[in-house]
């Protein structure tokens, strides 16, 4: 191995983006949607006046936030087939593809973080807004869905997106279960062609450009929201 050979990038980028980046971006997008959905439900539970609900949600959130993500990815990868089998009453472990396993893991894991953001968002909406909703005859779900959550969401949009940038970077950890995400695809090429330095540099640059670009976008959004308010 003499000198550097950056041609390897030219030879492999179609594969890297078509297979790897598609996996990474799809996983990020779906886990974000799922994470925000379940995170919002968890936040509503945490703020519920029924203490069983708030303790259950609080316990879940604290557990997830105290575990290293890599461990959760490993565990879910090995456990999900058995949990699935138990759930549908099958004898053999259910076959779950690595993408599905990753999606479930990230949705469950990120839900804990999105929960804390949405909780702050719900609490940022003035108490009087809830009273106004109830006073008009709206029930809990309508008051939440039509009045509180839209405002909570708008107030928290920059933070939610920042969390998504972190999620985007974290998805590279699926590498530990040999999933072919962007990093995984690059690693395969790097090992095959013995071009570790070139490939990992390239991967770093791509992650940097996307993450930095997204955070610039978030900043811009933040100042735009500040003007509206």
């Amino acid at each position: 191995m003499s000198g550097y050979d950056f041609d390897v990038i030219q030879r492999s980028w179609v594969y890297l983006f078509r297979d790897g980046m598609t996996f990474t971006l799809t996983l990020t997008a779906l886990a974000m949607v799922g994470g925000i959905f379940f995170g919002t439900l968890l936040a509503m539970m945490r703020l519920s006046r029924f203490s069983i609900l708030s303790y259950a949600a609080g316990g879940y959130v604290n557990l997830m936030r105290s575990l290293p993500l890599v461990l959760v990815i490993f565990w879910f990868f090995f456990l999900v087939p058995y949990i699935g089998a138990w759930a549908i009453g099958a004898k053999d472990p259910v076959k779950v593809g690595s993408f599905m396993s990753c999606l479930i893991t990230f949705t469950m894991f990120e839900a804990a973080y999105y929960c804390e953001i949405m909780r702050a968002g719900i609490q940022s909406v003035a108490r009087g807004q809830v009273w106004a909703g109830y006073a008009l005859g709206l029930n809990y779900w309508l008051t939440m869905g039509k009045i509180v959550l839209p405002q909570a969401f708008r107030n928290m949009l920059p933070v939610l997106l920042t969390q998504t940038v972190i999620l985007f970077q974290d998805t590279s950890l699926v590498y530990v279960i040999s999933a072919t995400d962007f990093l995984g695809a690059a690693a395969k090429v790097a090992n095959r062609d013995y071009r570790l330095v070139e490939m990992y540099t390239f991967v770093a640059v791509v992650y940097f450009i996307i993450s930095f670009g997204l955070s610039l976008l978030v900043k811009q959004l933040q100042s735009r929201i500040a003007i509206i308010r």
């Binding site: 003035a126 009273w131 106004a132 109830y134 709206l138 039509k146 708008r154 308010r229």
Partner: protein
């Protein structure tokens, strides 16, 4: 229409309301006044169950508010409420603020709800602002929209909690005018306010509260006459002199 019987309420060990009783008949306008912290907001929130109470009974049009079997959203949809800080929904346009409950609670069609909304906006003189957002309106305009929103569900009674005290002085009258008109049309109203001019013009009765108790509950003439208690007198002289 609204009957309050021996209501007591505690926040933890702190008693906010002590054995309060009164009644608002159909078409009657009752003004509630009293010093800050005397429990005026609390008692008015108890009427449509925004605050629970531990003792006594409140009925609205014969339906018990404290009864756990009462369908609270339905009960509340028959009472209009106007808040000190307007509480318009900032993410919805003025028209949407007025149609939301009509569609989601009363089940009206979007067209019918919109017609009603525009009629009400016209009535409070804000037709030109129908597509704006609450944040683009002045305080007085926002409170008039809030009154129109409360009227959009065709309430049998209206509750007001200091509707003008968050407003700049020059905007108070535009809101009071709407309220006076409403009172003259025969709306049943319970109004927490320190605007004694409003009370003198349209109130039938005045309630004076202090430290969680109803100290005075008398006709307007008695209240502004010589019959009132020393405490109410002291309070009145304070608010009338600034």
């Amino acid at each position: 229409m609204i009957s309050i019987k021996n209501i007591s309420k505690w926040y933890g060990s702190f008693q906010v309301l002590t054995d309060c009783s009164t009644e608002v008949k159909k078409g009657e306008v009752v003004v509630v006044c009293g010093p800050s912290g005397s429990g005026k907001s609390t008692i008015i929130k108890c009427v449509n169950a925004l605050e629970p109470f531990q003792k006594g009974e409140i009925t609205v049009d014969g339906i018990s508010v404290g009864d756990p079997k009462t369908d609270l959203p339905k009960l509340r949809s028959r009472i209009g409420m106007v808040f000190q800080n307007f509480e318009l929904f900032p993410h919805l346009s003025v028209t949407e603020n007025l149609t939301l409950a009509q569609i989601k609670v009363l089940g009206r069609t979007p067209e019918a709800a919109r017609d009603k909304a525009l009629k009400l906006l016209d009535r409070v003189g804000l037709m030109a602002h129908k597509d704006k957002f609450p944040g683009q309106l002045s305080g007085g305009q926002q409170q008039r929209v809030a009154i129109a929103r409360a009227l959009s569900i065709d309430p049998i009674a209206m509750l007001f909690d200091e509707p003008t005290s968050a407003l700049d002085p020059e905007m108070i009258n535009e809101v009071l005018d709407v309220m006076v008109q409403l009172a003259q049309e025969g709306m049943t109203m319970m109004v927490v306010t320190h605007e004694m001019g409003f009370a003198k013009r349209v109130a039938h009765r005045v309630i004076f509260m202090d430290a969680g108790k109803i100290i005075e509950d008398c006709t307007k003439d008695d209240f502004f006459g010589t019959q009132r208690s020393e405490r109410a007198q002291l309070f009145l002289s304070k608010i009338l002199h600034h």
